[in-house]
Symmetry: C2
Subunit: 341 residues, 2 copies
Amino acid sequence: MNKKTTIYDIAEKLNITAATVSRALNNNPKISVATRKLVLDTAAEMNYEQNRLAKALKSGKSFNVGVIVPRINTNFFGSVIRGIEEELYPEGYHIIICQTHDEKELELGNINSLLNLQVDGILMSISNTKHDNNDLFKNVLKKNVPLIFFDRSKNIPGVSSVTIDDFKGAYEATQHLIDQGFKRIAHISNDQKLEIFKNRYAGYKQALLDNGLEFDESLVLESWSKVEQGKEVAKTFLDMKNPPDGIFSSSDFSALGAIQEIKERGLRIPEDIGVIGFSNEPFTKLMELTITTVDQSPIEMGKLAARVFLEEVNNSKRIRSERKVVLDPELIIRQSSLRNK
Amino acid sequence: MNKKTTIYDIAEKLNITAATVSRALNNNPKISVATRKLVLDTAAEMNYEQNRLAKALKSGKSFNVGVIVPRINTNFFGSVIRGIEEELYPEGYHIIICQTHDEKELELGNINSLLNLQVDGILMSISNTKHDNNDLFKNVLKKNVPLIFFDRSKNIPGVSSVTIDDFKGAYEATQHLIDQGFKRIAHISNDQKLEIFKNRYAGYKQALLDNGLEFDESLVLESWSKVEQGKEVAKTFLDMKNPPDGIFSSSDFSALGAIQEIKERGLRIPEDIGVIGFSNEPFTKLMELTITTVDQSPIEMGKLAARVFLEEVNNSKRIRSERKVVLDPELIIRQSSLRNK
DNA sequence: CATATTTTTGCAATCGATTACTTAATGTTA
DNA sequence: TAACATTAAGTAATCGATTGCAAAAATATG
């Protein structure tokens, strides 16, 4: 069978050494124009392609970057990855994608696999599992592999991160509901072990307090980012003696579930109840009743994470600097909350 | 700085050879129980992790697989990739993802990059650019790298593929519209250079003919898979002297665009006009007016593509067999087409 | 034309892991 | 205890590309 051509094959054919071939291919100045041309022509003719594995082994740089996300088939993570790729591809990097499915074991396995693969860096959004210790991450740093968190971050010395200001996003969303005249605003929260949801909760609460509204803990319920779950939570809210007239959800999916439940009960949105989601998933704009939400500019987030990575690998290895990039969220006001036109 | 530990480091520490260390780590039987334990313990203690680059170079197998898709941030491709990963990860493979953005240059570059990276196989959905010749793909085969097409395929000897029966999906969708009493059915098509769209067109046409309905070429228009484009096309349809009363779109996105335009004109769906999309994108189920569509079981498709790949790498290299797996599409009937409850 | 200088090429080690082949160290048997 | 078998560990080559150093060839200089 047709094996791959190596520089040795070219060398043999031309009766020269592999070293010369290598130099010719790498535009090394210490070589005659004639030989270079000869080598280049022969290489093309023999269909030569560099073995990047060998080069990586020799140079200690694989030009591969690992990207770890909870799951790949949501618009948000898909877009972040797209952003990362757009930034890294022109620099010659390739990305290796792993999913954790929010499982600790997989997360651990993925990180180790990526290190084995000699990736030049790891960009990740941590899973929502309890991380008892940070040894796992420190281990990455010890090996001198840049580690960058995006979206779901964790405060670890030496680890850069790119996140959005979840507090601000939540605050503005809640403030908007208040401005629209909603008085009793509930919050569909999510796993408080994750910073992002903790911050959204905090932003919501602060907005209420700053506006002199009562903060009622019974109006905050946790739910997974699922339509069905949102529906369930909405049921609980609507069955209350004193039900809310506004819902700020930490997820578009649960916001949609809530909307469905509200409509099924014959209540009108936004006239009776206002609803806001989080993430700007595509469907929020496509619905008949478009949903107000908070945009996290995922592509931009991916690009920034990639740039932080590039900074870290290109800068002198001696300096371990740490960057915390925080993106501004953007409140996208749509029909589900806009009562005063 | 803390460099990565190699088998030489372990060997040196224990005053033995790297060969012994390697054997101990690989459970080679030719080694004493005592030494093995010693090596294993020391390896753990020194935080040793295998350099898969070196192993790959030596063995000629990288355990990396390249996946090329037009874009990653749509539910369909994201899900296919998820399926591929689910099947390959347990076998020890990692996935390197590339996007073509439907650009020929990028597609070419991606393939070459992946070959350079010494991937063990390439799974791809070809871009909708004109492929004048198949040299590109033949080149991959020549290098003995299994190549598998999924969804967007091309008939090339030696290349396996996993697709859905687009003809059948289109046929059933059209038949369903006919069964619901729609008489004048239009088709929003797409780039006829791609097999999938050609087949959907053909399935649509055949269903009309089989039911004794007139096939009117002016009722077929091409459009990108975009909401806006679908709207434009719908305008053309609705402005006709004799407008259609049913639309079968080759894409969910253009179907949605059409729906928006239809509604804006005060027409009712499905009473006045029935609409069917293609792909079962999540939003089709989430809308207030749920959209009838054709499911392509993307996760299953990814898994099958992965299995075909595994078959090819594991089977004796001598035999180059070629598999054409065709999945059955599933018509998901929802409100946008269901007139007779 | 001889020597000095510059170019061009070759030699050999290296990156880290694996493995056929040897050698050394045990164990077994008569 | 000698002769042989078995087991454990070492030697060195290999995968493909790169690169410091040395050698050879080409060119310049007096």
